[in-house]
């Protein structure tokens, strides 16, 4: 069978490995021809077990392979923009993990290169492909709730990251909330114009000492008149809490968490049900496959990917505004960024 899409995966840490395995196991018309990793030695066995023979240390070997028409950029965040530019210049279609960068100028340069090269770019906001959130978006688009009035996102991690990570993360609002900023754009079908951050250090004082926050309520104003709110915590004792609600002129939609089973145990002590799925790779398992499917469809059919370069840029702008809002204690317009 001729495979039309020949992929190279750049960076095979946790998320790079996941995408690679998803492609091998689910897309028979897509070939992963090569992977690159700065620790190539460590991932060789893994790659070979998947039938991938080419394992490079230098991602440029992937960019230089004319047979490879598509790359996945899964390397560390600070390399995303640069590799995107090089990959675009090499004429490759690009799936780039989020965020492209935290620097707006760099993002714009990367988007410019992509535009000039006329290649596809999809950014890895996988949650849009989650069965629950996609259903909400579909129902909103179908007009079931009329005009959106209030968008609500609850997003709480099961555990705070290590302090060393917190220090280099860019701050919770850019590291964690960025997914939620994408989500509110996705669900509202509109752009955020203003943001106000009410945040605190309640989970771990060390996070405060590292200059970050761990608990936040962020309110938003949208161009279409709707208003929104995101609440975040770095640590929900009961697990990974990922819910949304969209309320509008004709009604509302809510989605609750996924869990491992629907079992409900009733005893003298009470009525017990399962906790939410704990780990994001479990919770969003299928969404990672779906985003790949839509990306490959866009490449194959020469259509616009479902998450574009602009979709990569906007959440960063909102995140920067939210951070500024927290620091200055006032609402910030996105255009101030």
């Amino acid at each position: 069978m001729d495979k039309k899409i020949i992929v190279g995966v750049i960076g095979t840490g946790r998320i790079g490995k996941l995408h690679t395995e998803n492609i091998v196991n689910n897309f028979r018309n897509v070939e992963v021809k090569a992977v690159s990793d700065i620790y190539a030695d460590k991932v060789k066995d893994w790659a070979h077990s998947l039938g991938i023979e080419n394992v490079y240390e230098d991602y440029k070997q992937i960019l230089n392979d004319p047979e490879i028409n598509t790359v996945l950029i899964c390397s560390s965040t600070n390399t995303h923009a640069q590799i995107t530019i090089e990959a675009a210049n090499a004429g490759k279609n690009i799936f780039c993990e989020k965020p492209i960068d935290y620097n707006v100028e760099k993002i714009n340069e990367a988007l410019e290169a992509v535009k000039k090269a006329g290649v596809k770019l999809q950014v890895g906001f996988n949650r849009r492909f989650d069965h629950n959130f996609k259903k909400v978006c579909d129902l909103v688009k179908e007009g079931k709730i009329g005009d959106p009035h209030i968008i609500k996102v609850t997003s709480r991690d099961p555990e705070a990251p290590p302090i060393e990570y917190v220090k280099v993360s860019g701050g919770m609002l850019l590291d964690m909330t960025i997914h939620d900023f994408d989500m509110v754009r996705y669900l509202s079908g509109s752009e955020v114009e203003e943001v106000y951050t009410n945040a605190a250090v309640l989970v771990d004082p060390k996070i405060g000492e590292a200059g970050d926050i761990d608990t936040a309520i962020i309110t938003l104003k949208f161009k279409n008149g709707a208003i929104g709110v995101i609440d975040n915590s770095r640590r929900a004792a009961y697990g990974y809490d990922q819910r949304v609600e969209v309320f509008g002129s004709k009604g509302g939609i809510t989605v609750s968490n996924d869990s491992d089973s629907s079992a409900v145990l009733s005893t003298e002590e009470g009525v017990f049900s399962e906790k939410p799925k704990y780990f994001f790779l479990e919770r969003y398992k299928d969404s990672f496959i779906s985003e790949m499917r839509d990306f490959f469809d866009a490449v194959e059919n020469n259509t616009e990917p479902p998450v574009t370069g602009i979709d990569g840029l906007k959440p960063v702008l909102i995140g920067l505004a939210a951070t500024k809002s927290y620091k200055e204690g006032r609402p910030i317009k996105i255009e101030e960024i």
Copy 2:
């Protein structure tokens, strides 16, 4: 049987009637000796059908009856403070419907009079006595969720009030959200220190023309470090939406809406369940009885009522701050009021 609590009800509109009937039907040791209403003629038949013989036009006849030791003030809002003062001076125990007033000075005068007279005063924040919210409060107090981090209240009316009412209501934040300001104090066990209002006119442009808002997200900072958010709408198409969530260091609690039955109908078209109870008197039916029970207990046992004068004052202060925040587009500290 000797009845120790002899009640006079001042104002027998919707809520005054409700309290009167609740007392007659549920508290055999309490006697409603008299009611007063500026339209006494219109309520005579109703009162007599309950076995209440004394129906006055002038509430002072109630205050002048030495046998009556307790009054319910259910007249129009602008009379609450004045009648509270007079009733206190007459040595009556007082149940006063919310709010005492929208003017802080007037409230303080009333509280002063109550204090001086040494009578009981309970303010009618009935939602604290709701089975769902009371359970949340109890679980929080028992430490089940550890330290509170995030308090969330969703409060949406089934229908916007008439524009004529909107014009004199004091504004949505004082008229409707005031219940939610009481609720966050109740659930957090702490005082609000700062408030920020993100609001819009989305339900009905006429509300905007009348100078008010109809949709709002209000964020809050509490003295104990917790943060909170209230979202309001004057019109939820599916009915009266009253939910809360408290999230803390050890977990979270949510409560959902009450409905008329637990029936779930599954057909080819989908899975249908009941809408939330539509009308606040239905939704909060039992809470009105419970608040009376606790008030009479406080009177009888000479203990502090569960909702004090201060509990009547604070939500007004928060409401004034929230209104100012909306007008000035910035977070407002309560101490600025």
Copy 3:
């Protein structure tokens, strides 16, 4: 106010007291003029506190009072049939607690007397008036599930009764399941034609020693072709379990248990919700008021009561058939009884 319905309550044990209080507190147009109890001395204070002056030892004093037009028969089961006959002969409308009797002949005699006298008779199958079950019945009648195919009732008590009670109860199938036999008739809108009982002693061996069972699955065939199943236990560790399901050609309806609040607590240990209401008087609280309302309506408007004498007879026939089925280990047709 002239009260058209003047009631005498015969027997003021737990259920007699409940009905009396419900009438006094909820039906201002109904007067409870007298109560009778073989332990009249013990209930005098209670009656007087409700404003009921006449407390008799002998129920005949009630039957002899020409002003009383309606009686509630709440005395012990073995007196129901006899008092029903006497009350009918005295021209009183009758609300009789379930069952009329366990002896079919006696029931028929009572029904005959009622028919001859032309008085109203309603039997106390209160569960038909429960908000959940009524909703199911309404949806079935509206044709929402098409033709009924399968009727399922789960009915489990929170605790087994004392062994002394078990011995005189007539057996679980007549004492406890009788409510469920009424329920399946109510929900199916059809008559049971055949019954098969699969039962065991699993809760308490003493119940077996007393000649009874404590756990049962009873299957049913209905005249309209539908089939059904009831499952019973004398003891559900988590509380009073009362659920039904009706499945038909166009879909299905289920109802779940009521609980004290909708609170859901999520912690590291799991997700906890409230147990079902434990006590039948709590669980079915409102249904007892509703059945009275409908009874008084039937009396006042001279219409057929919602639960007739035949509705009192049929469940006893099914219960006798179910008992015979258990003893003989084979399905039993109702016509065999």
Copy 4:
């Protein structure tokens, strides 16, 4: 990489294809070396697309390949027993789709051959591996509900099969309910001793004309004293309905259906949620992978497979007894079969 388990798949209809794809996509240490199908031509392209080069018309070519150590028997039911015997004689480990046969003698012959050959045999009762049912079983085994008293299974198909299929299916109780007979054994941890069938033709009169039933309630007695009930319909308008409940001395466990999302839409018309997953391959998707995983583990570690030959036999015995019960209108002991 050396693959220890070399598989041949016999029969590549719907379920054979599913297993093959699941192995290729999920078990890198397992090789599918060959498939056979009486319509080999029709499946060649499919097989090659998966990298399987050997596609035979005659399954004996698989049995004769000494490198193949494991076979999946997915051919038509009437060939299962014979091929099982031949595969056992050829020393292959066997995964055989359910049922082995409807003839008890033939099943026993097959089991005998497997025993003599000392090979592994797992029977394809995949529902045991479903996330929901497995959780129930685990909780029961952990003693969370104490001793099981009542086992309930609701199992309804979304659509009746074609009449031509009904005619050769062996009857609903053997064709469809057989899964539920396995389920009650799995959940109760005990053997069925007696069965009574209450059945009807309510979905489609043509099914009755074909000599079968389409709606049934089957009650069961277990060796450990517990009792049980299964309710079946060939057609649930709302989709595939698969629920169980286990009730015991210390409490109960229920599981509900899976659906595509947790979205709940509330509008003026009502509150809508998703229907159950409609198609069994979707509903039980992961269970098919899990049963393979456990089978390969048993082969690799030389342990007993989780669903043994006896587990293949027993549900057939219960199904035959249930059929006899329906025909004779009386409870049937399994030992009568």
